[in-house]
Symmetry: C2
């Protein structure tokens, strides 16, 4: 067989094989909001955005894009959407400023990047990826992180860009952290989370979102996880990391690991998680009245919901 012919044959075979592999995307737009107390306009806005993010992600995964790229793109879209507490529309701290946190992790090699207390970088999740790709570090915080974004040519904005009238009025306690986990057709997992943190938080407070192992974790050997809720509890109980460790160390299923982790000392009404594994199994679990969320996969499942 001529060499080019062999290559072509192998490529086609790989392509055929790949297209049979499962893929999945799961998204959250924050736990804590009770749909019974949301305006209809908000419910529709949130659900429509999650649906569109899922559709885009599903189509990208089907086309062979990496889970890493898909979770970054999904979270970027949600950062740019003022409905969610991440990027534009973020919750404001006690001095009326937006301070943004984000993290991303590649389950195929445990590489990860995170930023906290960012104030001028339009898309913190892309800065987190930049930290992962372009530095030997995992976590950059504060003015040093914004400066790195600027030096790297990422899009910078004035601090006012993030502040919406809605966040300023703080109509409700915003807990709408956003996150995404995905499985790609090569069998790799990735997770991404982005947030403005707690409304009226003390300046400099950092929650679980940018903490690898607390609010964000991905490991091809177990699962990819993104959390939302009372960050301090998710740090203390290392929720994302614990879900992964239980699978690796005790070989429980993904849903069982999530259940055990929540039962292991996490308070009631604390928040929720989304997770996916290499088989394409996914979980959306929360112990709050609601969690904005959606999941879609290669088996044809597609759902978007807020309440229980």
């Amino acid at each position: 067989m001529k060499k080019w012919l062999l290559h072509t044959f192998l490529a086609c075979w790989a392509c055929h094989f790949a297209s049979a592999e499962p893929y999945a995307i799961v998204v959250h737009g924050g736990a804590g909001a009770d749909p019974a107390q949301m305006e209809p306009e908000e419910i529709e806005g949130v659900k429509a955005r999650i649906q569109s993010v899922l559709q885009q992600g599903l189509s990208d995964l089907k086309a062979g894009r990496s889970a890493l790229r898909v979770v970054e793109e999904a979270v970027r879209s949600l950062e740019d959407d003022p409905w969610f507490n991440a990027g534009q529309g973020a919750a404001l701290n006690s001095e009326g400023e937006a301070e943004l946190d984000a993290a991303i992790m590649d389950g195929s090699n445990l590489r990860c990047g995170a930023v906290a207390d960012v104030r001028r970088t339009r898309n913190p999740i892309s800065l987190a990826r930049w930290v992962m790709e372009k530095t030997p570090h995992v976590l950059l915080v504060g003015p040093g992180a914004d400066r790195f974004a600027q030096q790297s040519g990422l899009e910078m904005v004035e601090p006012e860009y993030f502040i919406t009238e809605r966040a300023r009025r703080a109509l409700r306690k915003k807990q709408g952290t956003v996150g995404c986990v995905a499985l790609d057709i090569r069998g790799h997992l990735a997770a991404a989370t982005s947030t403005g943190g707690l409304t009226n938080k003390r300046p400099g407070r950092v929650g679980d979102s940018p903490i690898i192992g607390a609010g964000t974790f991905a490991d091809d050997r177990s699962c990819a996880v993104s959390c939302t809720g009372v960050g301090e509890e998710f740090i203390r109980h290392q929720v994302a990391g614990q879900i992964s460790q239980r699978i690796r160390l005790t070989h429980v299923t993904l849903p069982e690991s999530v259940r055990q982790t929540f039962a292991d000392g996490l308070p009631d009404d604390v928040g929720g998680v989304i997770a996916v594994n290499r088989k394409g199994e996914w979980v959306m679990h929360f112990n709050t009245p609601g969690m904005s969320r959606g999941a879609a996969d290669s088996a044809g499942h597609f759902e978007v919901a807020i309440g229980k």
Copy 2:
């Protein structure tokens, strides 16, 4: 029996009972330094300070002080000592500034506090404890953390206070993060870690020390851990949390859990850990040429070492 007599009897009995309970303290002054490349003056200085911290801690534990208080005091002493890369004498970032990180955790209730990118608080470990005790938060970073220290009445210093001639010359790559874990006579565990981070780091870079579950963790149900080394790897592999989880989930011994965690993908020459459990068993493990360290316990063990 008269009431005061009963009280006295009970107190004495408690005292007698308590003194039979094991207690232990383990300290590190950083992994990475090769004793073969240290000046004799430095070796003596480091060992003498660790010895004195152990003696003080042991005596405090014997007197019934809490593990939490003992680890805070031990780390404060090391922060105030310019030999170590924490507090005064910290490594400087690429702009010649000291940026300090610290975390503390109480194993009896999983409460924890941490600070990162602090520049004006003399003792970051005490600020971490203050975050734990006085706020609903776990992690404060940057100017917001320093401002909180000032509002709380903690001792503030000029940024120059931290900078020693030795750190400025950066005679060697300082990796002398400091940490302490302890078991008190009530059976409670605590862990504390403090660092200036990597020499010449990018401003805003945060390593594993202030990340609960990465460089610092304590849980009465498993062990207390403090890490030192290449922070990014300790975050990625959630070293402190993983050591705890392996004990809780698979019931291995503390030394075996440390061994398995290091064998589970951690690179060579990456750093070390100290750990203690409720039985008073302790571990000092590292895969670097040396780790400044010491351990002392109620069974009469007392050792201080740097090399293998």
